[in-house]
Symmetry: C2
Subunit: 260 residues, 2 copies
């Protein structure tokens, strides 16, 4: 069972290319992370962007220039231990690949940022609905009109995920996700989508639309895709990220990062 | 009354050198910050040090190279709006001054880090004892034997503050300070000082010793002095910090940074 694999076992399978699919549900209870790799010259500015926008870009680990073994997963290699990567040149997607050992440049800096899988597990454990999981879809993601705080040349609108629930469930969801401040934390908005510049909930910019039932309101959380938009908002010669859904699985447990 | 001054009024007095004393108790309810200014060349590594050691070095604001007006206090100038500064050359204290407009170098990066005044106010409001305030002394600070996670050339032992209280008060203090995760958060240790390498509580490395009464245990919080030790652990040509107790007073309210 994929859920029962230890993070190290899962990463070994990925490194041998015996696991190439998305990581959702794998090594359950362990923190998964967004990856951004970029040239050293812009690393200070991008780190500053993350520090200034901790809800969409919560920092789990930042490696020193050229390093590929993260503190949160000793023995791992970020160039081979994710199932799928995106290669951006001059801000444009050039390729999706299963290994970046060939194209990783000396001195590149790797950023690992929190993702929402951790708090989804906690919400499920509390009996809250996660509609996209119920419907076997990707979570709905929207580009809002809210600006992130820029840093150096990096800028982006805030991207959010949306999960519909009743107001009573929304209150409980605020309590539960507040604890997970390093994996996006509490919602950034609930209720009227127009207030944050979302025109049509049935047309997400990324992921799939989901059903909103009578009596439910949309609840919005900051989304790690924001970091990808920011990293590619500047025409850098090379930026490497995880491919959507194909995350890095760390040795940290979900509970290791809770505030309470 | 100093406590009633708005942060802007207080900074104006400081800028005109009509206020030159420590800022403890001034503009009550507003967040005060540690300041570190350093050359751009090492700013990425120092930012990384802070990110990796968020309990002693919680980041409130980091300015872009050469900038002196922080996001958390529009209109302020970090070169003149603190009552007293320390100038370090090659890692050694060279002077204490009231203004650094002359020596601030183009491209220097300014870091504002959380300080413990915020959670002290909350603890006082909850009726918890703060012995050094009762005794009108500086808080006791100790250099532990715990290593911070280094970053680039920056390294430091963890420095802690200590406040004695009963075990029951310690439980309440954990609850209250947990909310203030950007101003050092929950304690890093309680009880036996030897366990973190403190040999004699009556001989703090910085600040003053305080009385520990029968039935009380020492409770230890991460301390912002750690950032100063780290910044001066490398012989940089110029590092500027606030002088102890002479903090930067921001426009943020204590409650703005709480997690709950």
């Amino acid at each position: 069972m994929a859920a029962e694999l230890s993070p190290r076992e899962l990463r070994d399978l990925i490194r041998k290319r015996q696991w190439t699919q998305p990581t959702s549900g794998a090594s359950k209870g362990f923190i998964q992370a967004n990856l951004v790799m970029m040239p050293q010259e812009q690393a200070f500015n991008f780190l500053l962007f993350c520090v200034r926008n901790p809800k969409p870009c919560p920092i789990l680990d930042v490696l020193e220039p050229g390093q590929v073994e993260p503190h949160i997963a000793p023995g791992a290699d970020l160039r081979s231990d994710l199932p799928r990567y995106c290669i951006f040149e001059n801000g444009r997607l050039k390729a999706e690949v299963q290994d970046v050992r060939d194209c990783f440049q000396p001195g590149m800096v790797s950023f690992l940022l929190g993702c929402s899988f951790s708090f989804e597990n906690a919400m499920l454990a509390a009996g809250l609905p996660i509609r996209n999981i119920e419907e076997n879809k990707n979570v709905s993601m929207y580009v809002t009109r809210r600006d992130c705080r820029p840093a150096g040349p990096f800028a982006s609108k805030l991207v959010v995920t949306m999960r519909p629930m009743t107001p009573q469930q929304a209150v409980r969801a605020v309590q539960i996700t507040t604890r997970f401040h390093l994996t996006h934390g509490a919602p950034v908005h609930l209720g009227d989508p127009a207030e944050i510049g979302i025109k049509d909930l049935s047309r997400p910019e990324f992921g799939d639309p989901v059903a909103i039932r009578p009596g439910e309101i949309p609840v919005f959380w900051a989304c790690g895709v924001t970091s990808q938009l920011a990293a590619t908002s500047v025409p850098l010669p090379l930026v490497i990220t995880h491919a959507p859904g194909h995350m890095f699985v760390s040795d940290l447990k979900d509970e290791d990062l809770t505030i309470l």
